[in-house]
Amino acid sequence: MLSVAKAKTFEADQTGNQPLPELSGAEIFVQSLVQQGVETVFGYPGGVVLSVYDTLFKTKNINHFLVRHEQGGTHAADGYARATGKPGVVLATSGPGATNTVTGIATAFMDSIPLVIFTGQVPLNLIGNDAFQEADILGITRPITKHSYLVRDVSELADTISKAFHIAVSGRPGPVLVDIPKDVLLAKAPYNSKRRVKLAGYKPMTKGSYRQIMKAVEMIGESRRPVIYAGGGVMHSNAAAELREFAQKLGAPVTTTLLGLGAYPESDDLSLGMLGMHGTWYANMAVSESDLLIAIGARFDDRVTGRIADFAKNAQKIHIDIDPASISKNVEIDLPIVGDVKHVLSDLIPHVNACDSKSWLAEIKKWKADHPLRYETNGPILKPQQVIQAVSEVTKGQAIVASDVGQHQMWTAQYYQFSEPRSHLSSGGLGTMGYGFPAAMGAAVGRPDRTAVAIVGDGGFQMTAMELATAVHYKIPVKIVILNNGYLGMVRQWQELFFEKRYSHSDLDASNPDFVKMAECYGAIGYRAHNSAELDEALKKMMAEQELPVLVDAIVDREENVYPMVPAGAAIYEMIEEDAK
């Protein structure tokens, strides 16, 4: 039994003389997870990992969630990680189990999310033999992991797991995959719970250079039109409080990326909301007109910058980032500060003074008044933006909100009033449909104290909807709001604007299931809303439910478009603000 083995281990540690207990690879695996503080695993069993599942059966220290597809499990672990700040853990079998995690791994990689993915592998002597359920998962995932390991000897297993967790959470976080052959899981080795992680080639810098920080102080002092551009790095480094203090001390407006939403409260006067392709008019104009752009934990993604040559072209640029490779990758930086955002901001704050930005802030205030986010109502028909606003109100802006990819994602980013970090979960880099619902489920598991809402489209939801079974089985009270326009909305919007309304394969209306019945057939609760009265009623009931997942199928205006919009190839100040009349 595992508990006995564990007791022995600790004894051996204390006396130092007793022989170490011999454990199987599967037992070492579970012990190592416990030692890492892992409480939650999302997984799916299969041939080569049965020994691990047998060990899990006997332990009470780890909550394993049996998902319905490994992709959903990986997104759930990702949502868990984003919501809690702890690494998400996935367990899958070899071959198809492993390959099903690939989209989830790529999603986490693009957004720098700490995951540790454990895959079973065929026995060592069969590797390379085209064995049953064999896939070279290390080879397949090499470009989408921060690092990966194949464990060839059971005596290396415990150290490898420690290294994997260390690499996943430190520096610029990311997914790490550990591939463990079946025979390694069955072999025995002495287990020593004492670990030291030694990695000669891996020493992420956390503290920023003092000299660079003092140069930044000087540049900030001279700026009259500063803008702070904050990204997901603020979340990873848990630096939302420092960001607030920094922005308020400077009196500098703050725009965030999609992944930075929640890093700065949107109710604050200095908030500009999101920038970029579907950012606010005033955020994009402020960046374009600024004389100093302070990028914090952001990577100048093409959806943010639009046409590179015209991005903030009058601004000096300071870039604070833990990843030296992010600096001057897309946009030339005048002053890089390599380090952890929290450290660097803490070092900066005591030295900076308020900018002379009064007239700049007045200008921005006028832009906000003249070009707010807006939409037109259409009789009793629900507008998607209105649904997001209603969700924002009913959750008081305090929920953890996960989205898929597309129109609903942009409306969520625009109209949900985020105020807290680790509240907005979305696949920004990879743009993964099917991410939102399982991610919200993972967040609900990790943060049972908060409300978790998935805002999804009718297209994306169907990519991972089978996780309803998981949510019902484990009584995860995740909320699902479908903005149902019966289209792949963003595809349709592009087809309308750039392909003369030829809606090629983007209309789902005739083939969509009845989502309310779908929820019910899984044992979840479903409501449908066609107008605002029905929506309010449905959302009220949704919030009241404490145990089961609730799905609200909001039937929205079919051909609503997301604005503002920066067309592909344009500068971010060249926005389309509304439909052509």
């Binding site: 090499r142 470009p143 921060k146 690499i167 000669a200 080639g201 990843d323 030296p324 001057s328």
Partner: protein
């Protein structure tokens, strides 16, 4: 512009694939790559010759540095460094031209390391320019096979005055 990058890498079975994959995945160029055990057998030293604008080269060195198994990245290009390439050249060598070929090999301080009735195999060492030169001198006689190592390089210990 051509750059010579020297890497010290942990001697892991898939380290080379990580590095080669980084180049192909990000669209960087590899002109030559040479790999062999370093002074400490737990490490390998790789010499990569690549080309691109300064911004790309900067990305290459930074991205290489990010790989967990890469211990050290040095762009030798702006330093004083020694470099060599080894080539084995199998050239057609009938009786009547054999003397000419031997002369060429001597000029380039090459060595004949294999002889058959119709061919000579030449070992040539030096800078790529020199190896290119001897190959182009031998080409008219009929090159059968050529194997080149690509550049190996080390920083010069004495960097001179700066």
């Amino acid at each position: 512009m051509k750059h010579t990058i020297s890497l010290l890498v942990e001697n892991k079975s898939d380290a080379l694939q990580r590095i080669a994959g980084l180049f192909s995945g990000r669209g960087f160029n590899i002109d030559t790559i040479s790999v062999g055990r370093a002074e400490d057998p737990s490490h390998v030293r790789m010499t990569i010759v690549t080309h691109g604008e300064d911004r790309i080269i900067e990305q290459i060195t930074k991205q290489l540095h990010k790989l967990i198994d890469v211990v050290k990245v040095v762009d030798l290009t702006d330093m004083s460094f020694v470099n060599r390439e080894l080539a084995l050249i199998k050239v057609s060598a009938a009786e009547d031209v054999r003397a000419e070929i031997l002369q060429i090999v001597e000029v380039f301080r090459g060595k004949i390391i294999d002889i058959s009735p119709k061919t000579l195999t030449v070992e040539a060492t030096g800078s790529e320019d020199k190896v290119d030169a001897i190959i182009s001198m031998l080409r008219p006689y009929g090159l059968k096979e050529v194997a080149r190592t690509g550049r190996v390089a080390l920083k010069r210990e004495f960097q001179g005055e700066t």
